[in-house]
Amino acid sequence: MNLVRAELERLSARRFVQLMVVLLVLAFAVTAATTLAGSHKPSVSELNSARQQATEARQSMEATFRECLARQGGALPTEDGGMYLPADCSEIDPVLQDRLPIAADFLPGVFTFAEQAQPLLYFLIAFLVLFGFLVGASYIGADLTSGGVVNLLLWRPRRVTVLAAKLGTLLGTVLVLALLASVAYLATFWVIGQAAGLPGRLDGDFWRSLGAVHGRGLVLVLLASALGFAIATLGRHTSAALGAFAAYAVVWELGARLVLEIVDARKSDLFMLSSHIGAWLNGGARFYDERLCAGGPGLNCDSFYTITWGSSLLVLLVLAGGLTAAAFAVFRRRDLI
């Protein structure tokens, strides 16, 4: 416990951590300020007009779908009459759409919390993932380079305990900070929605969905922190983590993706970490691959494939867990010179 308290003090005193927190607050303040400046409380007439437009848009979608079905059933001629109608009418089936037009879509300059909360949360999670990775890497990297770890080991010559205390402190701190930041962030935008925009439809489904994204985002932040910590421990320097990240992004996500395209590899997104991060964060992801249907997509062949959140979590856990375990195993036996 003493060790954790001491580590907590060291972590919070790090200039880099303080700088990242300032950047977070700045990004937060700029986003909130621009949102506030660009939004206004809609008048009754604006609201009525928007509702009317949304109703019309939904009706138009229904009409188009019915027309498509009628043409498919042979009741209408096959000419499209200037209107695009897909061969598979389910593509435009309003019931199957992710979302239908709502009044908020027709209220320019009005911030609607229910509509914007999720994208805003994604931005925050992206920042916190970056924060966790960089802070995790620099926290142990700087300590290894400066001799701080050696100093500590002269006091507590238990390597695994010392490293575990550092990792635990890092994860705990990042988690608390991420929780506080996300609560403050969402609360601020909720207030903006109430005072200078629209709250939108904040029902149980909304909060459940937002909570799920938030929870998955926090897991991602913790995994990124552990990953940065583990790579910097293995490489003895903060730069090892940064280099590994840059190398992975360029060599694998860009280079290997290109090579996989050239060699006509199927389901290439399965091999990309970015796909798994997206799938985990969104609760699953569908990817299109025309190679899945040799004769072109048809009724018996689906050109889409899915990465479930479960398999993505497994990939992310194996990667972060494996590298963390390797970092502990190497640190336990390493010569500290």
Partner: protein, 332 residues
Amino acid sequence: MSAVIEIEGLRKTFRSLRSGRRVAVDGFDLLVEAGQVHGFLGPNGSGKTTTLRALLGLVRADSGRMTVLGEPSPELLPRVAGQVGAIVESPQFFGNFTGYRTLRLLARAGGVPVSRVDEVLELVGLHDRGDERVKGYSLGMKQRLAVASALLKDPRLLILDEPANGLDPAGIREMRDLMRSLAANGVTVLVSSHILGEIQLICDHVTIISRGRRVATGRVDEVLAGHDRHEFLVRVAEPERAVDLLHAAELTAVVDGGALVVSGVSDPTVVSRVLGEQGLWVGELTPLRPDLESVFLELTGAYEHSSVPRQVGDSSLPQGEAVIDLDRGVDA
């Protein structure tokens, strides 16, 4: 006396892709007994710091047996870590912290009462500068802070690697007094240093390492006596004639500057008698005792008149692998 540090047959090899295999410590032995202030000497790259790091569990030894305060190290080092204060090379501290906060953090991590921080800052002369940031400290002040961190635990054993690094003459003297006072209070001190005069003044025992092996160990005065060539500096009016007279008396003498150096003399009265009998009166007859520096340079071959600069690690091994151990005799 009980052994506080025992090292037997320590061997450590570093391997790297670039420079290959390098033996840093090669069957090294060290014995430090309770209450000693033990000097640990060796040229750069001779294996001093590697030995200390291995002893403190920072480097994994290839083979050998080590104990600290009776516990095998590094396996059971945590049992006695609370009684061992150590600095290895120049420790780096967090520049943004004040000296006080640095020590408070270590005290907290090690379960030491925070009240001890003020005591050790006072001991190392940093009491009035403890609230300044470490990044503003001079090298000597950082070294004092390092020593303070080692003293924080009120240790029974203090291991100091180059504690005088960066200290001014007054600081060196204060460090010497501090070590003496610690030793007087029963603290065993193992100190490595390049300042040989300091080691000679502070330490009662010494171990000299060269190319990873022990080349001498024992009480400082005995190590020095072991290298005493029984030489005397003699000043007379006619040095050239005096040399002839001494040679005739089967003594070895050479003219060095305006004086003579007579060696292999067990009784100096022989010199004055031989010269006096021929009417040459001796103006000065001074014994030339070896100091630790000359013994160190002789044992390690660290100083040779050569046009080629000596390289790190170019020190020598004892002839015939013999180790001068004045406590135990000579190990072949």
